[in-house]
């Protein structure tokens, strides 16, 4: 189990993450999502003991992860920009890593390479970004860690390899009971794979729940009234966002969805319709990452080629 308790990490005066609290159970995959620069990698670096948190700590089965060589023997951190020994082959790199991981299994490593269609004798220098990612993953699985951290997990992988990786991860946690933390921009992949998810918005975690709980937390409610409506009508309802037309209202409610829906039902609407949110929609809502189409259109308006 990985416990992230009240972690705050600063770069000089800049606070990257603040008071993050997350628990990753055994045999589970935990997903971290967030926009670019929101602090996902920082959080993983703190979890891996690479960065020292200004406040809080990360515990691996109850032991502080920072400068704790005993517990971190069981941890493998696959960074986005994985480092390989200079001029080495994939297998050579695996040998280098195996010196630090006593449970390194070369058969697993080789099998993962085969699954990815990666020649383990290839020189790392000659590999593409995606292939390097595959090499890193093969080494990571070969290391047989109890705690596996993967930054930008699916970055650079084609859909086929993503699927392989997804299955490998699931198989790995099922078999070993490992705790896995992955970060990714690809919410679809995360939603398929993770048991839990945390969304980081800037400094702090704004959503931390099981995937299946997301639908219970967010609901979009469409209301149609006989007469025109205004926002005053929804005063007693806990909603995140409200869009009004002449006689209709669309509300995004979160939290105790059932209770709020019941409140809305009592407002005398002609019709009431509820809709579940996708993970992308939740992400957009939570991170307020709304695309302004008008602005995009205006970027090239003066550009005539």
């Amino acid at each position: 189990m990985i416990e992230i308790k009240g972690v705050t990490k600063k770069y000089g005066d800049y606070t990257a993450i603040e008071n993050v609290n997350v628990t990753v159970d055994d045999s589970s995959v935990f997903g971290i999502a967030g926009f670019n620069g929101c602090g996902k990698t920082t959080l993983l670096n703190v979890c891996a003991g690479v960065f020292k948190a200004e406040e809080g700590a990360v515990f691996l089965d109850g032991a502080d992860a920072f400068d704790n060589s005993k517990e971190r023997k069981e941890l493998f951190y696959l960074t986005d920009d994985t480092w390989f020994p200079v001029k080495s082959s994939v297998k050579g790199s695996a040998k280098y890593y195996s010196e630090y991981f006593p449970n390194f299994d070369f058969e697993v490593f080789q099998e993962v390479c085969d699954l990815f269609g990666l020649n383990s004798k290839s020189n790392i220098k000659s590999l593409s970004k995606g292939m390097k990612k595959q090499a890193g993953l093969a080494i990571a699985f070969g290391a047989s860690p109890k705690y596996l951290l993967i930054d930008e997990t699916f970055d650079g992988l084609d859909p086929h390899k993503r699927e392989i990786l997804r299955k490998l991860l699931l198989e790995y946690i099922n078999t070993t009971g490992a705790s896995v933390i992955i970060s990714s921009h690809n919410l679809a992949d995360i939603s398929d794979l993770c048991d839990h998810i945390a969304i980081i918005n800037g400094k702090s975690v704004i959503l931390n729940c099981a995937i299946e709980d997301i639908s219970e937390h967010y609901r979009k409610v469409y209301l149609t009234f006989e007469n025109s409506v205004n926002e005053e009508l929804f005063k007693g309802v806990n909603y995140r966002k409200c869009e009004l037309t002449e006689r209709t209202a669309t509300l995004l409610i979160c939290g105790d969805v059932e209770k709020e829906t019941e409140k809305l039902g009592n407002l005398g609407a002609d019709s009431i319709k509820t809709e579940l949110l996708t993970l992308e929609e939740v992400f957009s809502e939570e991170t307020e990452a709304i695309t302004d189409d008008g602005k995009i259109k205006s970027v090239f308006r003066k550009k005539k080629i």
Partner: protein
């Protein structure tokens, strides 16, 4: 999932090759290259009979620098991962604690390097041992050199590792590392510059020893030497091999292997302590986040700004110092090396400014600059307070066994350094004063110099007190005032000095020895031994200017065995009288008379011989003129007249004044007095009003060099004069009359080039030059004298004679 491979050990293993191989390979390559070079030197020197143990030892001088540089380089390689964020992140994610990681990367490679380096030094010591006439125990040398080898590795590796740890980028690491290394030097240099001015210590000597001197000179008794102990890098430039001189006294304890062993051991312990402090406070808190970032650490910025600031301040100070005191660099090599170091540093600063704009903060750190200014002011304050009485301190008279002063430039009777300054080179004994009143006199002189604020003359005056308990207290002064010189000159009248001359004039070498040269040195040795003189000039061997002359003609330059006489009148025409022209008896009488007269001569008469008739020189050179050509040891050819010239300049010269009744009596009796009377007619004359002269080294000199036989046959003639004034203007001209290889005797004109850029400069642009009539010149010549003492305002009388020769005399105020 699957069975574990056999390659998996089940335990975390420490991979030796990954940590070790890079260093071993790099170090072995460096040392192998050095070893090959040294062996080639050995083979070549043996093959071509160029064997010179001193030269070979010089080859070792830079070994410590190589070791130090290797330590720096290897630490940069070993800790390179700290500059690569991805690698650092990966390595740190492996789970090893920072402390463990540091220890693995630091101690193991360092210890392995130390072992390799010791092995390397052992091999080189063996080679060196084979080369030299060794008086030390080989095991002693192994031990000393091994210890000397360890410190540079320690320093280099620690500095490199620490720099890597606190800096984000390689360029910053290098710059910061250089700044740390140069920091003690910068402080040392600044202190040295100021101490040398206010304590009148060894400015140029300190520079020299900092760099590439072999540290064998006796002139190192200075506060800078004490300071050097506090700088671990000071050992790097020292000649670590060849501890042949086992009988060094305590005075030279810092030249002994024991000194370096103790010093290095202390510094090694200090550095181990530093490493533990670094481990505790820096390693533990090392943040990989700072990788790839530009010098964020406050420490980095302060030190990076502090060192260049101190260096620049020292350079500016030195420039002012050189400018104000007309000091010359101690040697071209030293000047060059200083220039290279400063140039390299300034270049590094420019590179940082131009190409690493974000690193500008490293250099322009306000706090660092403020600290440097504060340090400068502190050193300045300590200096102007006389360093708490360092310069004026002298031991209690009761505890002093004897006192010696460095040379007798001031004490040799009427010998004038305007004649090439040769006699003090030739025979400059360190006289031991043992009488209580003389010791008190010297103590008073020291106190006077220490308090004296005038710096008229640049010359080295060293007082060495030998105490009853065997210890030694030494104080050196580089700048002296006019008054101080006169006080020192007063020592000439002491009983000890007079006894010294008495001995010189009356003792004879064993001329029946196997070689005359040997006889001369044997005599010298006896003279020193029998009279409790500390030393008689080493320049027979050391001074390049006199190598050929002294090696080959020393035997002709003895006073004790003199069979010849040169009489030089005030028109500077020298007449050479050999054994065919003068009786040996006359010479013996002359020696006796000279001594009797000198006993009664006052210091004033000695320094300002206004009643001067001329100068006489004694030598044993009759055989010299019989031979056409001489061959010196190194294959250079010299004609008789060339040797005669050297002989003339290198002999004991005695100024003869009208007060010296005994000498004049002998000269008249032997019909030698006539050579003082000039037959030359003045054709043209000028008076040059000199300004106060500041440099003893560049005394105004004027002399003619006309050597004739008794029959008036001119062997050679030269005349030139030169002057170094307060404004740094040289007056210089020369013309000669000598025998060309193909032609008869003829005149030539010289543009003397004694030093850089001093071409012919007549007249002095800023000097007051007045033309006078020949008649006036003749009158002035009566009171003029041939000698000159630095520091006095005076006028020169320059005369050109009808026969084309010229000379310059000093006119008293």
């Amino acid at each position: 999932m699957t069975e574990k491979s056999n390659q998996s050990s089940g335990k975390r293993k420490f991979n030796l090759p990954h940590v070790f191989n890079k260093n071993v390979v790099i170090l072995l390559v460096i040392y192998a290259l050095v070893l090959i070079y040294e062996l080639l030197v050995k083979i070549f020197t043996e093959s071509f009979s160029l064997y010179n143990p001193y030269d070979f030892e010089q080859e070792f001088n830079n070994l410590s620098i190589i070791t130090f540089a290797s330590g720096c380089l290897l630490s940069l390689v070993q800790f390179r991962f700290l500059q690569l964020k991805t690698k650092c992140t990966t390595i740190l994610s492996f789970g090893e604690s920072r402390k463990t990681l540091f220890r693995k990367n630091f101690w193991f490679p360092l210890l392995s390097m130390v072992l390799i380096t010791i092995g390397f030094y052992v091999i080189l010591t063996s080679i060196s041992w084979d080369f030299r006439e060794h008086s030390t125990d080989l095991l002693d040398e192994y031990l000393a050199n091994a210890l000397i080898a360890i410190l540079p590795i320690f320093v280099g590796y620690t500095v490199g590792a620490f720099s890597s740890m606190v800096c984000g980028k390689t360029i910053e690491t290098l710059f910061f590392g250089a700044s740390i290394c140069a920091l003690p030097f910068s402080l040392f240099n600044l202190a040295d510059s100021m101490f040398s001015l206010f304590l009148k210590g060894y400015h140029s000597v300190a520079w020299e020893y900092w760099y590439f001197s072999n540290y064998t000179s006796a002139e190192v008794h200075d506060v800078t030497t004490i300071l050097s102990f506090f700088d671990p890098l000071y050992t790097l430039n020292l000649n670590v091999f060849g501890f042949d001189d086992k009988d060094v006294s305590m005075e030279y304890w810092f030249e002994t292997p024991a000194f370096y062993i103790v010093k290095n051991l202390i510094w090694i312990v200090i550095f181990i302590g530093i490493i533990f402090v670094v481990e505790k406070y820096f390693v533990k808190n090392f943040q990989v986040e700072n990788c790839d970032k530009k010098g964020k650490s406050k420490l980095v910025r302060i030190i990076s700004a502090l060192t260049p600031a101190l260096m620049i301040e020292a350079v500016i100070f030195n420039y002012i110092y050189e400018y104000c005191f007309a000091d010359a660099p101690s040697s071209i090599m030293v000047a060059l090396l200083i220039g290279v170091v400063i140039f390299a540093f300034i270049t590094a600063i420019i590179i940082v400014l131009l190409f690493f704009k974000k690193s500008k903060g490293l250099l322009f750190n306000l706090f660092g600059i403020v600290v440097s200014v504060a340090l400068t002011l502190l050193v300045f304050f300590i200096s102007i307070t006389g360093c708490f009485g360092y310069s004026s301190y002298s031991p209690d008279a009761e505890k002093i066994k004897s006192v010696s002063i460095n040379d007798v430039t001031y004490l040799i009777p009427n010998y004038t350094i305007d004649y090439y300054g040769s006699i003090d080179e030739c025979l400059s004994p360190d006289i031991n004063f043992e009488l209580k009143e003389e010791i008190e006199l010297i103590k008073d002189i020291q106190k006077f110099i220490a308090k004296d604020s005038n710096y008229d003359i640049k010359d080295t005056f060293t007082i060495t007190y030998e105490l009853e308990d065997g210890s030694v207290v030494t104080r050196s002064f580089t700048y002296l005032s006019e008054e101080a010189c006169e006080k020192i000159g007063g020592l000439w009248e002491t009983e000890t000095v007079l006894n010294f001359y008495k001995t010189i004039l009356n003792q004879s070498p064993d001329i029946n020895s196997s070689s005359s040269e040997y006889a001369w040195f044997e005599w010298e040795k006896d003279l020193i031994f029998n009279n409790n003189f500390k030393n008689i000039g080493e320049s027979h061997y050391d001074d390049e200017d006199f190598d050929y002359a002294l090696d080959d003609t020393t035997s002709y330059m003895t006073i004790a065995d003199a069979d010849s006489l040169v009489v030089i009148g005030k028109d500077t025409v020298a007449t050479c009288l050999t054994n065919e022209d003068i009786e040996r008896d006359t010479i013996e009488q002359l020696k006796k008379a000279l001594y009797e007269d000198y006993v009664n001569l006052s210091a004033s008469q000695h320094f300002r011989p206004e009643k001067q008739l001329g100068i006489i020189s004694l030598a044993s050179c009759s055989a010299l003129l019989e031979n056409e050509m001489f061959y010196a040891d190194e294959g250079e050819e010299f004609t008789a007249q060339e040797l005669l010239d050297d002989w003339k300049y290198s002999l004991f010269k005695f100024s003869v004044t009208t007060d010296m009744v005994n000498t004049i009596s002998v000269l008249k009796k032997a019909d030698l007095y006539k050579y003082f009377v000039s037959n030359l007619t003045v054709e043209e004359a000028h008076i040059i009003d000199s300004q106060k002269l500041l440099s003893w080294m560049y005394l105004p000199q004027a002399f003619d060099d006309v050597v004739r036989t008794k029959d008036g046959y001119c062997l050679s003639a030269m005349t030139y004069c030169w002057n170094y004034s307060k404004n740094g203007v040289y007056l210089q001209d020369g013309c000669g009359y000598t025998k060309d290889s193909d032609k008869e005797y003829g005149w030539y004109h010289n543009d003397w080039d004694f030093d850089d850029g001093y071409d012919e400069l007549i007249p002095i642009p800023k000097a007051d030059i007045k033309k006078i009539t020949p008649e006036e010149a003749e009158k002035l010549r009566e009171k003029a004298f041939m000698t000159y003492n630095a520091g006095n305002d005076c006028k020169f009388l320059v005369m050109k004679y009808t026969d084309g020769t010229a000379n310059m005399l000093v006119i008293p105020d």
